[in-house]
């Protein structure tokens, strides 16, 4: 079937049959987007393991503050003398954990992997617009990861001011141990990271806009591509601002300027001479990236979910256009809501209420997406593959975490909730768990495309259920702790009597975290074992419509051996009533329509009629909306 799909008027002159690759050019300094995507994935997984282990270490401290753990001393040396975690190092662990998870795993690991793998393959391009820049993007990321990991090992400890590195802690070398070399290395790592993100993002945008194959109009792009594209736009517009914030921080730290510093008395040093700076300025600059960043993390996961849910429900995605518009709405709004992280900085209450209203409006496109996922699932022929389960998991976390966003978005409530465990609960559900689940969904779904083999299904199921349950066990109770006033980023709570009641909950959460962490071993085993021993996959194992499944898996520059296939329809034509197969790939022309009623050779497909199931879904949704708004 796939040969029938190739159109031949498209000349190709790529060098893939001319040059031989060396080991270095194939596996190390590769310029092939598929290899670069694997490099991003593996690096992301390694960073993920580091971040996970760190979280287990500080969770153990929270659960058993008086206990001594011999293995900790072995692992951390002077940072855990007598097996007790050092308070400064606790802050360092929290900081590096956050940094790793937000930037290294869920930005580079997620966007880097799937944008690289899927953009050229799904839009029908031979590679990225600039393969060279793409390679640089990975190697900047790699360097950045190395620098960050080195920073954990330096004498004075890693950066410890939290992943947001607010000044003054981050702006003065002597503020605390972690403000020294560790902080400097953190800044170096982040600058390298930003360069990597920009190089990558520029390529993604340019490839999507300029290199789509014939027939692949914007409104036929899979939602994955829309998500990656808009994510890259967000990154392009917001990462430079973080760079600016970071440069000012570097100037303050190392050259003696006072952009962020004013009127500070430092123990052991005395009054600092810096005057006139504004620490709140840093917060503005940081959150101008920071809020878009959370969507940079989430949107690719949402895109992956759209694709996986539609494929595994054997139904067109409900409301393709609404999905695209929601993504656009979220992207746009995410630039004008950053103030909701700063309600208690003493901002003008009027400004606060503007940020509040804008923030709450984000709930609208978010809800549209959720309802569309649910209606796509409604009465589908659901296939509960691990990818599907993880996608549904994402929807679940997105709902339970998104709802608390609406609480936090209320300036008045946020005065109480800010910097409490409620915030930790909110973003670990809506961003942490959601996006990680989206990433897992992507890995399970496209593993056959990456490695030509299948992941083990049973292990995948176990992996999903254990991770899903433990994630809720770890993060859900945090809501109640936060409501009771337990603050985040504290080393231990034993000195506050009122918090004693949370001791058992803390233990339960830590145990759940350890179990959940252990479940990731199932995944790691599955991932690396299947690479060599997994069942060989078919060309299109999920009977999916999108273009990437028309290309052979083996390492091949230019993706398709012949001409690039042409595209004839949208990506979600599942279960068309006029077709025998329950899918209709984008690259199969209508002429070859062999089955069903419409197969009499007319050039344009008959306009798709909605199926019975969709009508039911639509009716249910409208009924629900009417009920909610009280129309009759």
């Amino acid at each position: 079937m796939s040969t029938a799909a190739l159109h031949t008027d498209h000349h190709h002159d790529h060098g893939h049959h001319e040059h031989k690759e060396s080991f270095i050019s194939k596996y190390v300094f590769s310029m092939d987007h598929k290899m670069i995507s694997k490099q991003f994935l593996i690096t992301g997984i390694i960073m993920g393991i580091v971040g996970l282990v760190m979280s287990l270490l500080f969770r153990m401290q929270l659960a058993w503050p008086d206990e001594k753990f011999g293995f900790m001393e072995m692992l951390l040396g002077k940072w855990a003398q007598d097996g007790k975690l050092d308070p400064n190092f606790y802050m360092g662990l929290v900081t590096i954990h956050g940094t790793i998870m937000v930037f290294y795993v869920l930005t580079a690991g997620l966007s880097g992997t799937f944008s690289n793998l899927l953009i050229p393959l799904q839009v029908g391009a031979r590679d990225m617009a600039s393969p060279f820049m793409n390679m640089l993007s990975y190697w900047f990321f790699f360097l950045s990861s190395v620098v960050l990991l080195i920073s954990v090992g330096v004498e004075t400890g890693p950066a410890s001011a939290g992943w947001t590195v607010y000044p003054p802690l981050s702006a003065m070398e002597k503020a605390m141990p972690g403000s020294g070399l560790g902080m400097t290395l953190w800044l170096v790592a982040i600058v390298l990271f930003i360069v990597s993100a920009l190089l990558g993002g520029i390529n993604y945008i340019s490839t999507v806009l300029n290199m789509r194959t014939k027939g692949m109009s914007m409104n036929r792009m899979p939602l994955t591509i829309w998500a990656f594209f808009l994510t890259a736009v967000l990154g392009l517009l917001s990462f430079p601002v973080l760079l600016g914030a970071g440069l000012f921080l570097i100037f303050d730290r190392s050259f003696g300027t006072s952009f962020y510093l004013s009127d500070i008395y430092l123990e052991g040093v005395g009054a600092m001479e810096n005057i006139g700076g504004s620490p709140v300025l840093y917060q503005h600059l940081f959150w101008f990236l920071g809020h878009p960043e959370v969507y940079i993390i989430l949107m690719p996961a949402l895109g992956i979910t759209s694709e996986v849910i539609s494929t595994n429900a054997r139904k067109p995605i409900f409301g393709y256009t609404a999905m695209v518009i929601s993504l656009m709405g979220i992207s746009f709004l995410s630039f004008i809501v950053w103030g909701h992280h700063m309600f208690i900085t003493g901002m003008n209450p009027f400004l606060g209420s503007v940020f509040m209203i804008l923030t709450l409006i984000i709930a609208v496109p978010s809800a549209v997406k959720v309802f569309n996922y649910l209606t796509t699932l409604w009465r589908g022929n659901l296939r509960f593959t691990p990818a599907m389960l993880f996608s549904i998991g994402l929807v679940s976390f997105f709902i339970s975490g998104g709802l608390t966003g609406i609480y936090l978005g209320n300036a008045a409530l946020d005065i109480q909730l800010h910097d409490s465990y409620f915030v930790v609960a909110h973003f670990h559900l809506v961003m942490g768990s959601s996006a990680i689940f989206g990433m897992f969904a992507g890995i399970y779904h496209w593993y056959p495309r990456m490695y030509g083999r299948m992941l083990n299904n049973t292990l995948g199921q176990f992996h999903f259920w254990i991770t899903f349950i433990t994630a809720y066990l770890v993060f859900f109770p945090m809501h109640f702790m936060g409501l009771a006033g337990v603050p985040r980023r504290y080393y231990m709570f034993t000195l506050v009597k009122e918090f004693d009641v949370w001791m058992d909950v803390n233990k339960m959460m830590t145990i759940a975290a350890i179990v959940g962490g252990a479940a990731q071993l199932l995944f790691l085993w599955n991932f690396f074992y299947s690479m060599f021993r997994g069942k060989k996959s078919e060309q299109n194992p999920w009977q999916s419509n999108t273009l990437e499944w028309s290309a052979p898996v083996e390492h091949l520059h230019g993706n398709w051996p012949g001409a690039i296939p042409e595209v004839y329809r949208g990506p979600y034509e599942y279960s068309r009533p006029d077709r025998e197969d329950d899918y209709f790939p984008q690259y199969v022309p209508d002429e070859s329509d062999h089955a069903g009623t419409g197969g009499d050779g007319h050039k344009t497909a008959p306009k798709r009629k909605s199926t019975k199931k969709e009508e039911v879904a639509e009716n249910v949704m409208f009924a629900a909306i009417k009920r909610v708004f009280g129309w009759s």
Binding site: A129, N210, L243, F255, T257, S258, E273, G276, F288
Partner: protein
């Protein structure tokens, strides 16, 4: 001479040359960086002024000269581009070299501008409260200068290629990229100069 003109293998038909499009995106990213600086300046100024930690001072005259140099070099790079387009290779090299020289002059002028500020006691580091406004001028002009250094490297590459007969009517991509980027640098400095002039 024709034999020396390297010819490129044909490529797929893209909507826009990827390299130029990537450049435009890079320029957008740079604009965001400077937008951040400019917004920080605007937000910081009234705040600091209220606490008497912000002085207004005259920008060094060298910065104005460098803006004029930027303007002239925009003309020369345009002429270089035009001569490459019409295959006047000798002229192309002359104009590229002129642009390169002007670029170096620009850097020297910026440096002299900083010396000028230092001679007036406006330090980059914060010894006096008023230096905050000076810090901004130093930081913004420094980051801009780094962009210019990037531009000079790009020019050097183009110039080398021009001497190897690799810049001509059929091989314009690099020339176009250099051309666009150089205009951006000039315009950006003129904008920054005017902004600092009127806001400070």
């Amino acid at each position: 001479m024709n034999t020396k003109i390297a010819s490129k293998k044909p490529k797929e038909n893209y909507r826009i040359e990827p390299m130029r499009f990537n450049l435009v995106l890079m320029i957008i990213a740079s604009c965001m960086l400077f937008a951040a600086f400019v917004s920080a300046y605007i937000v910081h100024m009234p705040d600091a002024a209220a606490k008497n930690t912000w002085t207004e001072f005259d920008l060094p005259v060298q910065f104005m000269y460098s803006a004029i140099v930027a303007l002239i070099s925009s003309v020369t790079i345009y002429l270089a581009y035009r001569s490459a387009k019409s295959d006047e290779l000798m002229l192309n090299r002359v104009y590229l070299s002129a642009t390169w020289l002007l670029g170096v002059v620009f850097c020297v002028l910026q440096y002299m501008g900083w010396l000028n500020m230092i001679s007036r006691g406006l330090m980059p580091v914060n010894a006096d409260p008023e230096d905050i406004s000076a810090s901004y001028v130093y930081a913004i002009s420094l980051i801009h200068l780094l962009h210019v250094l990037g531009g000079i490297i790009l020019l050097t590459v183009t110039l080398t290629k021009a001497f190897r007969y690799q810049v001509h009517k059929k091989e314009l991509t690099l020339m176009k990229v250099t051309h666009t980027y150089w205009h951006f640098l000039g315009l950006l400095w003129i904008y920054l100069y005017l902004f600092l002039y009127f806001a400070g």
